[in-house]
């Protein structure tokens, strides 16, 4: 059986007055049905751009190259109308701040009715509300919230409602872009538990985009680490955390502060700007294991070891 999502050689370039910004460069990513992939990286590494490009939600000044095959169809080759129907029906996305995604002038019920009718114009109001109640129960939200406006709800409730809106058509893939970053730790953990149980119930795959390695460790089956628009490393979660291979992954893991931290570590330098294209490895200026070849030759993603891992580094 083929994978649910297969991204190949994906590049996203923004044209700006200052020059071209290469936000995503030559990225390959595969997501199997019902699985969770964590896409981690720091701000500006291109992880959100990649997530949006999969849904073809990139802005007008972006050019997208490569291929995105979803359930056997190339999303980049489909007419916009068909993509729009896939989006919301088979592919859904939740964002960091649910308040900005809900219309402040619309009651929650109208969000549901509108979403359902966008895909199924013939559905009666009553039936739409019935379906809304069902998915709300799945995300543990009392159905009296349907009559409320977004501002009357707490942050956690809003995010649950966003998730419920995504679930209406039982999508095969949910892209969650920093879904818990605006929430406190306890709420974050609650939402994650919820996503986990819903994934099972709906047999849904999740692409979790986050800067938080702890979340990925708790949630994802596989991890993809992004740096400066490139994929640095990709592999199954447990072996990757046990033995990170790319120096950036190693640095990122070492700089996590958790309850057992006794020694602080930070990666030297700062992430590069994505203006213009760099010759060699983008991590070269910050890398503690850099070699001469790294300066001039870009390291391709290569399989390393026997745990289905790929690393973009000349060390391997």
């Amino acid at each position: 059986m083929s994978a649910l999502l297969e991204v190949k050689h994906l590049s996203v370039t923004f044209e700006t007055p200052q020059g071209n910004v290469h936000a995503v460069q030559d990225v390959d990513l595969t997501i199997e049905r019902g699985s969770t992939v964590g896409l981690v990286g720091e701000s500006g590494c291109g992880k959100s751009t990649l997530g949006r490009a999969i849904l073809r939600l990139h802005p007008r000044n972006a050019s997208v190259q490569g291929s995105i095959r979803f359930a056997g169809r190339d999303l980049l080759a489909l007419p916009p109308r068909e993509v729009r129907d896939l989006r919301g029906r088979n592919l859904a996305m939740i964002f960091q701040d649910p308040m900005t995604r809900l219309d402040p002038l619309m009651r929650i019920r109208d969000h549901f009715i509108e979403t359902i009718r966008a895909h199924d114009p013939t559905v009666e109001k009553k039936e739409a509300l019935e379906r809304a109640r069902k998915v709300l129960a799945d995300v543990r939200v009392p159905s009296d919230r349907l009559g409320m406006y977004p501002h009357e709800l707490s942050g956690g409730m809003r995010q649950r409602i966003m998730i419920a809106l995504c679930l209406l058509f039982k999508p095969a893939l949910l892209i969650a872009d920093e879904p818990t970053t605006a929430l406190d730790v306890i709420l974050e953990a609650q939402i994650l538990e919820l996503l986990r149980s819903i994934m099972k119930e709906y047999n849904m795959a999740v692409l979790l985009i986050t800067h938080n390695l702890g979340l990925v460790a708790e949630f994802a089956d596989r991890v993809a680490v992004m740096y400066a628009g490139h994929l640095a490393e990709e592999g199954a979660t447990i072996p990757l955390f046990r033995e990170p291979r790319h120096p950036y992954t190693q640095g990122l893991l070492a700089s996590v502060i958790d309850l057992e931290t006794t020694q602080l570590y930070s990666v030297p330098g700062a992430p590069p700007t994505l203006l213009g294209r760099s010759e060699g490895c983008p991590f070269y200026p910050r890398c503690e294991k850099r070699m001469d070849v790294c300066k001039t030759v870009y390291p391709e993603m290569r399989p390393v070891g026997d745990d289905r891992r790929a690393v973009a580094c000349h060390l391997y």
Binding site: D184, V185, I186, E193, S255, S266
Partner: protein, 423 residues
Amino acid sequence: MSEPILEVQDLRVHFSVFKGFLQRLLGGGEAKVHAVDGVTFSLREGEVFGLVGESGCGKTTIARTLVGLVRPTSGRIRYRGKDVNIADKKSRFQLQQRIQMVYQDPHAALSPAMTVGEAIADVFRTHGIINERGMRIPATSEEVVRKAALRALADVGLRPPEFFYAKYPDELSGGQKQRVVAARVLALRPRIIIADEPVAMLDMSVRARMLEFLLELKDRYHLTYIFITHDLATAKFMCTRIAIMYLGRIVEAGPAKTIYADPKHPYTRALLQAIPIPDPERRTQKVLPRGEVPNAVWPPAGCRFHPRCPAALATCGWEGRDFVSFLEERWLPSDMEAEESELGPVEAWEPADFEVRRESSSDENPSRIADRVRQILSESGGPMAQAVTAVAVEADEVVVRFRRPDLLAPKEVDGRIVECLLY
């Protein structure tokens, strides 16, 4: 043990909530956000004191009160044993020179239209230049001011200072901006620095450097820190003592080591458990508190954490609205229609302090409703059900009454202060 440099006693900060015309007409008590509601702590010279809690717990309000941005409603603040008259502008101003604050977002703290050098020079122009011995030298010439600003930049590691002097904030990285903010704060030679989530906006790979930098400044300038964070892991690394806050109150406070080794308050435990562990081989099922932090305008009775607490007792402060949430929750999984027909819609239950009432319509039998309530309460058997003193029928109303909560006060337990009825 050294004398406390700062003591905060029973500090309260309440904010009035704007009410619409109709609400004012309808009356009801004045609505106030109880942002900080009786907080007491002291700061020892040279320590890093952590104020830890989720958003809305009041930690930032305390900070803003200490630097004079917010007027406290009541309470005492003592600096080096001397009372600071909160009502007096001048004495608050003197305190402000001693206490300075580093904010979460360095970008918002710097003017985008000013070079960072100028931003620092401006402080010297306003307050004069304070030398190593704490002497204030008036800023006589631009040359003196510029020199002082350059030295301040070099002192926080922005070298060569001439290069950074002419930079605008958006030309710098987050870490560099945070250093500029630090340079400006240090220009007044404060004794206490309040760092409000100083690394929350920074990327993981550079966070540690900022924390190390803060610790280095502390040693170099003999500073005392109040470190505000929602992140218990960072607090553990940075702080000598911590206070965990929830909805305007300190629920547990003491030496960091003691609290992390054996957290006592159920909220502290919940916070610790919720932290994601960056090790996929140690995934565990978490027992999380239910729901979210309630509205601080009407904080829960008794212990404010009781509606979410996994270890709550019958004496913790159960009240009418807890019964309403209980009904909401129990209806979720089961067949709603059948339940609703007997108890009526949730909205029909009107909570008021320690009771909750529901008027029955002419075609309903209030004693049947009361029986049903008794039944579901005994089925649940939880602490809320145990707190019910009576389910009664009064005329055509069904009333559920709750016992009053036991008195809650901070108590010393195993080397730390806890505010919880379990102890």
